[in-house]
């Protein structure tokens, strides 16, 4: 095997004639224009609009953060009052977690996983489209209420009883609880189809030991989403019920328990961090592999580390509750678990460094972001181990020390790899390279900005500054460090502006990319950039962990899929033997209709208890269209059945 040189063209899998290519195109993208856009069930279209939507919410969440930094820049500031400030920090947390970080990681999986495992679409394309529409409507739902001054104001964690019927005024918390319902529907369907796609649709030869690490990461994340989202779904439904129909789940006066909320929330809330972080680890592994010009070192250890992180991640949630009356023995268990989870992450960091040492690193922007990730994330990881300690945690929790920690982890551990991933996969998605020069500016501004903004917060926390305060008195002496932090936020904004400019400018002016501009090893680089609607003319075959680096000029493929219908290959779960050809559904408006109806019933559901039962009846209508067989497809099947019978009779 040899790593391919950067910029070298590979021969795309074997020539079929142009007519076949055109037929494939027509089969996979039968409707174009605006209707085609609305009806599309292609994982790449859905993935792209998912990513763009998530970036819009990233911008909104970032503006909210900037507003908070402006308010906190000076002591006794009156720029933003407490009512608006509480809405803003709740919106910032909820937006970043529910509408940006998790969706964008999912979205990148939706776009890349079918390409990386060599198939033509996700397993349930219409469900996939439904997931996107639910997510979009959930975000619009939340922001519509926010702009009407009915934004949630009890924090993204919504502790009862502050968020309960007695203290949470108006519809604000209901809006939050229902936004969670929207996004959990979208996250759960995405997780479901991701698991099925990875289990059943891998290219022949892509056994578990040859699966790219990003796909492993997406698989682990999808399984985590199923468990974690169920917990928050339960919690948010109970909260909504307490508020709307006077159940008493969380009311201590009636035998309910306020700590029940915290357990249910953090059983979701802690794994949520890993749901964001693990896909980023996968991206780092792909980037390190490509730019070290060799396979990642310690592949089995890397896979084991991802699975271990995903598993142990469910055993830490009580470390968010150390200041409540949790039994000391129980606390010790969670301290041990929180300490333990640093080991798999440490192993991965060691393996990446080893890969860089063994390989011949090629310094391009994506790799720069990976190095930035290691330098920044390690600070957050180490302060995380500190926070595992109960005595230290009860001093630091709910102070700016934790704000610093979590932003080091999330910006360092997820945003820097994510932006690196944008530079890395942008040529695949658009066919053009992003500017390396702007990339350098982007990286350094962001790197400096993140440290200037968040490092002083460690000191502020130790010096007594608590979280979620809209102002602080001058005599506390926190003014200078807060001002520095706000200046850092301005640098972050500049860095992100460069990123945005680079995204837009490169769309038109970027150098043409070709199929495999980085000379990478995974299958998404074995098709044109941007990939055609059908991804691969023929399904590629994998023979080693090194992916397409194992091949010379030509990539072996499987043939035999029909070109006149959207067929793809289903393989066995363990050995990836071809099982059968599977016809995927045609574009349809059903997912959009379904999302509109569910969105309507959820919106009604915060005002009246009848929203859910009556809405559930209305959902039957889009279900009807969803399940109705396509007329042309039906006639074709009948004709083929007749032909087969005729042949059998003739024989």
């Amino acid at each position: 095997m040899t790593a391919r040189p950067l910029g070298e063209e590979i021969t795309l899998p074997p020539a079929i004639d142009e007519a076949d290519r055109a037929r494939l195109h027509a089969t996979w993208e039968p409707v174009t224009g605006f209707m085609g856009w609305l009806k599309s069930v292609n994982h790449k279209s859905v993935g792209k609009r998912y990513i763009c939507t998530a970036l819009v919410f990233f911008l909104l969440g970032g503006l909210e953060a900037a507003a908070m930094r402006a308010q906190l820049a000076r002591p006794d500031n009156t720029l933003i009052g407490p009512d608006l400030y509480n809405q803003i920090f709740t919106m910032h947390g909820s937006t970043m977690m529910f509408l940006f970080a998790v969706p964008i990681m999912t979205a990148i999986g939706i776009y890349l996983v079918p390409l990386m495992i060599g198939t033509r679409n996700v397993a349930f394309p219409r469900l996939n489209a439904l997931g996107f529409w639910m997510y979009l409507f959930g975000g619009i739902f939340l922001y519509t209420f926010f702009f009407m001054n009915t934004g949630p104001d009890a924090g993204w964690f919504n502790y009862v009883p502050l968020s309960g019927p007695q203290y949470g005024m108006g519809k604000r918390v209901d809006v939050w609880a229902q936004m969670v319902t929207f996004t959990e529907i979208s996250a759960l369907v995405a997780a479901l189809e991701m698991v099925v796609t990875i289990f059943k649709m891998r290219a022949p030869g892509m056994t578990w030991g040859r699966l790219p690490l990003l796909v492993w990461a997406q698989l682990v994340t999808a399984v985590m989403v199923m468990f974690a989202m169920s917990s928050v779904a339960t919690a948010s439904i109970m909260l909504g019920a307490d508020r709307l129909i006077a159940t008493q789940f969380f009311n201590p006066a009636e035998g309910g328990d306020v700590l029940l909320w915290q357990h249910l929330f953090w059983f979701f809330g802690h794994p949520e961090v890993y749901i964001i972080f693990i896909p980023a680890l996968g991206m780092v592994s792909q980037i390190v592999t490509t730019f070290s010009r060799r396979p990642v070192f310690g592949y089995p250890a890397m896979v084991a580390a991802l699975v271990a992180t995903g598993t142990v991640g469910f055993g830490l949630w009580v470390h968010h509750m150390f200041s409540t009356s949790v039994h000391q023995l129980g606390q010790s268990y969670f301290t041990a678990a929180s300490t333990m989870i640093s080991i798999p992450t440490g192993v991965q960091i060691f393996c990446w460094i080893a890969t860089l040492w063994l390989g011949r690193p090629v310094w391009r922007t994506p790799l720069l972001f990976v190095v930035g990730f290691l330098v920044v994330f390690m600070i957050g990881g180490l302060s995380g181990v500190m926070l595992a300690s109960v005595p230290f945690d009860v001093q630091a929790t709910d102070t700016y020390f934790v704000v610093a920690h979590l932003h080091y982890v999330l910006l360092g551990g997820a945003i820097l790899p994510l932006i690196g991933a944008f530079y890395y996969w942008y040529p695949k998605v658009t066919g053009r390279m992003m500017s390396e020069r702007l990339g350098l500016w982007n990286f350094w501004l962001l790197f400096v900005g993140v440290n200037v903004t968040f490092f002083p917060m460690h000191i502020l926390g130790l010096r007594g500054m608590t979280r979620r305060i809209y102002t602080y008195p001058q005599f506390m002496g926190w003014g200078t460090l807060n001002l520095i932090s706000t200046i850092g936020a301005v640098i972050i904004v500049a860095g992100m502006a460069v990123f945005a400019v680079n995204l837009f400018v490169s769309l038109k002016r970027g150098a043409l990319a070709g199929a495999n501009p980085w000379g990478a090893d995974t299958l998404e680089w074995a098709t044109s950039s941007p990939p055609p609607p059908y991804n691969f003319v023929n399904i590629p075959v994998i023979t080693s962990r090194e992916g397409i680096w194992a091949y010379g000029e030509e990539i072996p493929v499987m043939t035999g899929l029909k070109t006149d219908r959207p067929e793809t290959l289903i393989t066995t779960t363990m050995t990836t033997q071809p099982l059968y050809k599977h016809e995927l559904p045609a574009p349809t408006l059903a997912p959009l209709g379904m999302a509109i109806v569910i969105g309507g019933l959820l919106t009604a559901g915060i005002f009246t208890p009848w929203g859910l039962p009556l809405g559930s009846l209305v959902v039957i209508i889009p279900f009807y269209f969803w399940g109705w067989p396509d007329k042309k497809e039906h006639e074709r099947n009948l004709r083929e059945e007749r032909e087969r019978r005729g042949e059998a009779a003739a024989a």
């Binding site: 306020v258 200041s323 009356s325 460094i353 180490l382 005595p391």
Partner: protein, 329 residues
């Protein structure tokens, strides 16, 4: 005297009066030691790992090397195994040290115990000093006096939502959770005024829910307790007598108590000895005549959302009320 001290405390800097890094109690002290230990280890780990990374970047390999040479792979594997073999015992040492500190923090400091009840309200602290003799129990707000060197058990409860009791110079936090009674043990080993602040988000004025812990010599503490047990002073000055009438007949008495007067409501802080306190509105304002006037007339500008309504008092009424409140030492 206290007002002067408060002025000193508030006017200069409170930087080390609400700080994890300046402990004056056994819990906060052992926690700071643990923090310094963890910091030292973290810095060493960070420098080693990031140092290795930067070294590799500096000595980037040239194309002559075989990126998959088995000898170099074996050496990488060996290095990683050694690194993991070092990290795991270090984490174990950390765990053992942490558990030891947790024992110190959880254990009651030696000595006879003083018990104080603290109840969280949106957005102030109700403080009750327990005593076996019911007559000796007294109530105050937002200011806790404790004798230096004597362990104090603070029993925590919440009237409404979750709050968190945090005086970092003394100890870590403990949440005040409706339906879950809990307590926290503190001891101050040096006299001083330590500031604390609600640490669990509790709604609109979470930012302005502070308190002061005044650690003083046992003698001074006893004098203070004796004073607090007294009913409110009966005004002699005619203006103050008029002020008392304003208090009792106006809206003040609907929320506040002044012991031995007709005002006996418990919605807001007990004001029996309000003039002896250093701050107003849960640590928001220094206790001065001007601030008190501003707070009474227009609390919503100072602390938007606070449960206290604006009071449209005539100038004469206000002056009388202020004169009366100032007698409540």
């Amino acid at each position: 005297m206290w007002t002067g001290l408060a002025g000193a405390a508030l006017a200069c800097t409170a930087y080390d009066h609400q700080s994890v890094l300046d402990p004056v109690g056994p819990q906060a002290t052992s926690t700071r030691q643990l923090f310094y230990f963890m910091m030292a280890v973290a810095v060493i780990v960070y420098v080693m790992v990031v140092g290795a990374l930067l070294l590799i970047i500096r000595n980037r390999r040239t194309a002559v090397d075989d990126p998959q040479s088995p000898a170099r792979e074996a050496s990488a594997e060996r290095t990683i195994k050694i690194a993991v073999a070092i990290v795991v015992p270090v984490l174990f040492v950390f765990l053992l040290y942490d558990f030891a500190v947790a024992r110190v923090v959880g254990r009651m400091p030696e000595g006879s115990m003083l018990t104080i009840d603290v109840t969280g309200h949106q957005w102030w602290w109700e403080v009750t000093y327990e005593d076996p003799i019911p007559h000796n129990i007294f109530h105050t707000a937002n200011e806790i006096h404790i004798p230096v060197g004597r362990p104090v058990r603070i029993k925590l409860a919440s009237h409404d939502v979750i709050h968190s009791f945090w005086v970092p110079n003394l100890s870590g936090k403990k949440d005040l959770i409706p339906g879950h009674a809990d307590d926290i043990m503190i001891r101050a080993d040096q006299p001083g005024i330590y500031r604390g602040q609600c640490a669990e988000f509790c709604g609109l004025e979470h930012a302005k829910m502070a308190m002061l812990v005044v650690a003083e010599s046992p003698d001074a503490f006893t004098r203070w307790v004796e004073l607090q047990r007294q009913p409110a002073q009966v005004p002699v000055d005619s203006v103050a007598v008029a002020g008392r009438r304003v208090f009792e007949s106006g809206s003040c008495a609907m929320c506040h108590t002044i012991a031995s007067t007709q005002a006996a409501a418990t919605v807001g802080p007990n004001l029996t000895h309000v003039a002896g306190r250093m701050t107003l509105a849960a640590g928001t304002l220094q206790n001065s005549r001007g601030n008190l006037a501003g707070w009474i007339l227009d609390p919503q500008t100072i602390k938007p959302g606070a449960k206290m309504p604006a009071n449209a008092l005539a100038p004469a009424e206000l002056q009388a009320l202020l004169a009366y409140l100032e007698t409540l030492k």
